[in-house]
């Protein structure tokens, strides 16, 4: 191999890789036109690259999708899940006939009643409201008693007596006012009911009178009609009698 060929053969690979300048490429082409050894080298590279190109690719044996990783156990998530379940349970109980009741022996769950009694339900609601009211009142009284007891500690005996006396008077006055109010409410209610009854009775009497008048007029018109009919029939009979004669 000539030393000139050695230099060119280095450039043959570069020519396939696009790593030659325009001048280097032209010089190589001139040499290849006259050198069979270098042309053979060029053919070897060309064949190699051609084989790489035709090798092609294989299809994938399966898809390589990734999936979200499973979350580790989180106690807070468990608490939240329990809370959500309870909310769901009570929500379902509200919209369905499921009933959850507290009784002296504990909690009881039932799936509704076969028939709904509105009167009993109303009574139950009123009782529950009353119970709630009593509880609130008892709580308020307890709070007041506690407050008074705390005040007693910081008051002298005389001040305590004065305070107790004042509270008793205030209690008496409030009780009296409540009784007065109840009396007024009762009287007002009775008066209202009496007025309503009177109005209704008057209206009823007027209606009855109107109906009677209509009956009377209908009866009178019927009598007039009947008399006219009799007169016409009488006339007809007289005419018939005359013709027969």
């Amino acid at each position: 191999m000539k030393s000139e060929c050695s230099e060119h053969q280095k450039k043959i690979a570069a020519s396939f890789l696009g790593d030659l300048t325009k001048e280097e490429k032209q010089a190589l082409e001139v040499h290849l036109a006259t050198c069979s050894l270098c042309r053979s080298e060029q053919e070897s590279y060309a064949h190699t690259i051609q084989q790489l190109a035709v090798a092609g690719e294989e299809d994938v044996p399966h898809h390589f999708f990734i999936y979200p990783e499973k979350q580790s156990f989180n106690p807070w998530q468990a608490v939240l899940a329990t809370a959500a379940a309870l909310i769901l349970l009570f929500g379902t109980a509200t919209v369905s006939r499921l009933q959850i009741r507290s009784n002296p022996s504990g909690w009881s769950i039932s799936f509704g009643r076969s028939d709904l009694d509105p009167t009993a339900l109303k009574e139950e609601i009123l009782k529950a409201a009353e119970r709630k009211n009593q509880e609130s009142r008892a709580a308020w009284i307890r709070e007041m008693q506690t407050e008074i007891a705390r005040s007693h500690d910081s008051l002298t005996q005389q001040e305590a007596l004065q305070l107790t006396s004042a509270l008793a008077r205030m209690d008496s006055r409030i009780t009296g006012r409540i009784a007065d109010s109840e009396g007024h409410v009762r009287n007002d209610t009775q008066k209202l009911v009496s007025d309503m009854y009177r109005t209704v009775a008057q209206q009823r009497a007027q209606d009855l009178e109107g109906i009677n008048l209509r009956f009377d007029s209908t009866e009178a018109s019927n009598a007039i009609q009947s008399r006219r009919t009799n007169e016409v029939l009488g006339t007809l009979l007289e005419v018939a009698d005359l013709k027969l004669r």
């Binding site: 690979a13 890789l17 053919e43 190699t48 690259i49 084989q51 294989e58 898809h63 990734i66």
Partner: protein
């Protein structure tokens, strides 16, 4: 492929959207699998490596900067992963597709009956190329892969492998010379 669409999937993947990432998998899995196959020359190992590459990519996609190319990033992951796998193999391990498929393939006569002649010829050609590649050092294989199979420029290859341009050229010339010895003699 619409790069806007790809950017959309990348952005969604960075927010942890696995469905968007799986769109990227669908687009890139054949390329990644074939790169792994040529580098590892073992179908099972290539499939395993491909799955690992996509898992690695998903876990680190938040760090991907969108001012660079996704292709550069994914090629870097798959080539680095394959290079690590090859280097971890026990010394003297020599795998080629011919060796790997010898035990499980049906008899040649049966294969001819079941496949088209052109497909068979391509399979033979592929096996010859991969057998030749198995004699090329792995660092040079990576450069050949990007130059001839992925048709990248020297600059792009340097960006993927993060090595100087001169090193890329040196590896490429040496690798091509070795391939020519194996494949070019039939010319």
């Amino acid at each position: 492929m619409d790069s806007d669409q790809e950017n959309f999937w990348i952005a969604a993947s960075q927010r942890g959207d696995t469905r968007a990432f799986n769109r990227l998998v669908l687009k890139w899995e054949k390329t990644v699998y074939n790169v792994a196959l040529r580098m590892l020359r073992d179908r099972e190992e290539a499939a395993e490596a491909t799955q690992e590459v996509f898992l690695l990519a998903f876990r680190s996609i938040r760090r991907f900067r969108r001012d660079s190319k996704f292709s550069t990033w994914i090629y870097r992951i798959v080539l680095n992963h394959c290079l690590t796998r090859v280097k971890q193999r026990p010394p003297g391990t020599h795998l080629s597709l011919e060796d790997a498929s010898a035990g499980e393939s049906p008899a040649p006569q049966l294969r001819i009956a079941e496949t088209q002649v052109s497909e068979l010829m391509q399979l033979e050609q592929r096996n010859r190329v991969w057998a030749a590649l198995s004699h090329v050092p792995v660092d040079q294989q990576a450069v050949i892969e990007l130059k001839f199979f992925q048709e990248m420029t020297f600059e792009e290859i340097a960006a993927v492998l993060e090595v100087p341009l001169s090193t890329i050229k040196s590896r490429l010339y040496s690798g091509l010379e070795m391939l020519k010895i194996r494949l070019g003699s039939e010319a």
